[in-house]
């Protein structure tokens, strides 16, 4: 996936010279995950540049660049380090269009790796999508495949609003997929059915997509039941119709997120389904989530939802 991100950046930078990449170590080193490898050599230091160690600076400068004709793609090295820039994101980027009545806008993308799976402990593992999805004015996108990563990234860069683009670092090198060369887009605010089915539905995104898919396979094997797996891809604005349709079609619902449970993204999903599709439900909605604790290191594999936890939840809704 990390190569798809790199390819997406190169493809759009070749087409549009207002696209700039900035962040810590994104230049000659190519980023700590190599997502920006080769950009400085191909496009020069003007278009892909290392910044001082200041997330607040990276995003604040990104907002300024965006207001004045550029399309900045800011990299925050780990989502865990985004908080010094929270003010610029939440108070500024998110609200600029609103508070200026559309005079000033921030067509900016903030790319950042999120989530567990690399033994990164408290501060190289967190999943903060709920903070951003909660903030009006921000779009939140989470790819789970190389194809989507490239297409969604290009769509995000072309989008007129600020987009938080959360890259599941656990999937950066998880599997290979051939993807088209050059420019292509995947529409924001669309979901993707990973597996068909109408005995139950598992809603998921990012690094939890392969986990949910594995659980659905196990259910097929053990029960011969078909659990639909829906990759949400864009958390805000969500394709609510697709979510509600899947909920109505299946009636048994499992939501998977690796972020903590309380006020997590799954809380919103389950409220939405309860409000709009309760009459179709055959069982209580079940959430499989990270625990409401900081992210541990040695025990990270006990913290992260795994296929067994998801399988158990699907069995529970099937058996209800």
């Amino acid at each position: 996936m990390v190569q798809a991100v790199n390819d997406g950046l190169k493809s759009i930078m070749r087409e549009d010279d207002s696209v700039l990449v900035l962040g810590e170590d994104v230049g000659p080193k190519g980023g700590v995950f190599l997502a920006t490898e080769g950009l400085t050599s191909e496009f020069g230091e003007d278009r892909c540049f290392d910044t001082p160690l200041s997330e607040d600076g990276i995003i604040g400068v990104g907002v300024g660049l965006a207001m004045n004709g550029m399309k900045p793609v800011c990299e925050i090295q780990f989502q865990d380090f985004i908080f010094p820039a929270f003010d610029q994101i939440v108070s500024e980027a998110a609200k600029m269009r609103y508070r200026s009545g559309g005079q000033y806008t921030v067509p900016m993308v903030i790319r950042t790796p999120y989530g567990g799976g690399i033994r990164g402990g408290l501060y190289h593992s967190q999943s903060g999508e709920a903070y951003f999805a909660h903030t009006a004015g921000l779009k939140v996108v989470v790819p789970s495949t190389p194809y989507d990563a490239k297409g969604l990234l290009i769509s995000s860069i072309l989008d007129p609003d600020p987009v938080i683009f959360l890259e599941p670092k656990a999937l950066y090198r998880a599997f290979r997929e051939d993807i088209p060369e050059g420019m292509y887009t995947v529409d924001l605010s669309t979901t993707r059915d990973v597996l068909p089915g109408d005995d139950a539905v598992i809603f998921c995104y990012g690094a939890m997509v392969p986990v949910a898919t594995e659980a659905a396979r196990r259910i097929k094997e053990s029960r011969n039941k078909d659990a639909r797996v829906v990759d949400l891809r864009t958390l805000m604005p969500l394709d609510e119709d697709a979510v509600l349709q899947a909920a109505r079609d299946c009636g048994r619902i499992v939501i998977v997120q690796e972020a903590p449970r309380f006020c997590g993204y799954g809380s919103e999903l389950s409220a939405m389904i309860a409000e709009h599709a309760v009459e179709y439900l055959e069982a209580p909605i079940k959430r499989v989530t990270g625990f409401d604790t900081p992210f541990p290191n040695t025990l990270e594999n006990y913290y992260l939802p795994d296929a067994r936890r998801v399988t158990d939840a699907v069995e529970e809704v099937l058996d209800f």
Partner: protein, 386 residues
């Protein structure tokens, strides 16, 4: 680097750009050495060698897949140990950077306790919650829990120091951080608050030339880092960070000022990161190999050894023995830490709050039930990229 021989704090000027040096790279005395007993000098030397040995051992452990991560400390031994030696740990606290193994090592934190953290085992004071090198100790010295988000310790040090002042304690707080970390909000708020409140803090910036792959020139347009004190009304001094006596001297003077109620000092220790940023980083992509060769010639340990032997404070055989002992100590510590089990599952849920609230009790019960019934092992794989 120039060395003003008659250097003293009185001659300190804001943003003094020549670095104080007492021992030159060949081990020759070129400045006035602090008056230290032979035992104290040997304790410093031993801590530097043990710091190197701990670092080497961790690198080996990482390369053989026994631990996930480490941060090379090679080259920083004089800065860490020189500063540590200036502290009085009965009163003083440290709000540290991660690249500072020498401070706890000098002050008698046991090497196995540090190794426990590298393995994240059951005895790790951070309870296996943090990545390796994120130490936290409260004895024998107050060495505050290290955070990954950079610069956060800097204003905290100011708060600790303000509390000392308020409680009429004589202590000071030393905070250490890298050159890159001077760009953080924490650095600027910390410096400003310390200046305004005259807090008894010593700011020690380890200028090792790099913040991962970003050289100092990409981090700041100012002439070095000591000069950054000026805008906050804080005196700034530069010291040769590979000269343990010079670091000791400057930090001691800064501590004396702080204790005397004369306020904070910013110290820039000029040194070099003699390796990658971490075990996940390949510096050959961006560091000119010639730089490593040059800085190898300024090795803080070789320099101090040459000084001590030429001054008749240490025999060559003694120096050799210290090295052999240190390496054996670290190997044994690693073995001991490796043999210990991982923390128990319930430690995911404790220490979130003073008391475990009901919802975490429920989650803890779930986790214990779920995993003990399945007996699924922990997958230890996963490479850390940074």
């Amino acid at each position: 680097m120039v060395s003003p021989v008659a250097w003293s704090f009185d001659s300190l000027s804001f943003g003094m750009s020549e670095a104080l040096q007492i021992i030159d790279p060949s081990g020759k005395k070129v400045g006035s050495a602090p008056r230290l007993k032979k035992e104290a000098l040997l304790a410093m030397y031993r801590a530097m060698v043990r710091t190197r040995a701990f670092d080497d051992r961790c690198m080996k452990l990482q390369r053989t897949g026994k631990i996930g991560f480490s941060v090379p400390n090679k080259g920083i031994e004089a800065t860490s140990v020189g500063a540590a030696a200036a502290l009085d740990i009965t009163t003083d606290w440290v709000a540290p950077h991660y690249r500072d193994f020498g401070i706890p090592i000098f002050h008698g934190v046991q090497s196995v306790e540090m190794m426990d953290n590298m393995f994240g085992n059951v005895d790790d004071s951070a309870v296996g919650r943090q990545m390796p090198v994120h130490f936290s100790f409260d004895r024998p010295l107050k060495y505050l829990s290290i955070s990954s988000p950079l610069g956060t310790q800097i204003p905290q040090a100011v708060g600790v120091a303000m509390a000392m002042k308020r409680q009429k304690e004589l202590g000071i707080c030393l905070t250490t951080f890298g050159d890159g970390s001077t760009n953080t909000l924490g650095f600027h708020s910390g410096m400003n608050f310390a200046g305004v409140y005259g807090a008894p803090v010593v700011f020690l910036c380890q200028n090792n030339g790099w913040a991962i792959s970003c050289p100092v020139e990409k981090q700041t347009a100012s002439e070095g880092f000591a000069v950054k004190g000026e805008a906050y009304g804080i005196p700034g001094v530069t010291v040769d960070g590979n000269d343990v006596l010079a670091v000791y001297r400057v930090v001691s003077e800064a501590i004396k000022r702080a204790r005397a109620g004369e306020g904070p000092t910013l110290i820039e220790a000029v040194t070099f990161r003699m390796g990658g940023h971490s075990t996940s980083d390949d510096p050959s992509k961006y560091v000119d190999p010639q730089e490593f060769v040059e800085w190898e010639g300024r090795c803080p340990i070789r320099r101090f050894r040459a000084y001590l032997t030429s001054e008749g404070k240490m025999a060559e055989e003694e120096a050799d023995a210290i090295k052999v002992e240190a390496e054996a100590e670290m190997m044994a510590a690693a073995k001991e830490a490796e043999a210990k089990p991982v923390p128990s599952l319930d430690t995911i849920f404790t220490d979130v709050y003073a008391e475990v609230p009901p919802h975490l009790h429920a989650q803890s019960d779930f986790a214990i039930g779920h995993y003990s019934s399945r007996g699924e092992g922990v997958n230890e794989k996963g490479e850390f990229p940074l």
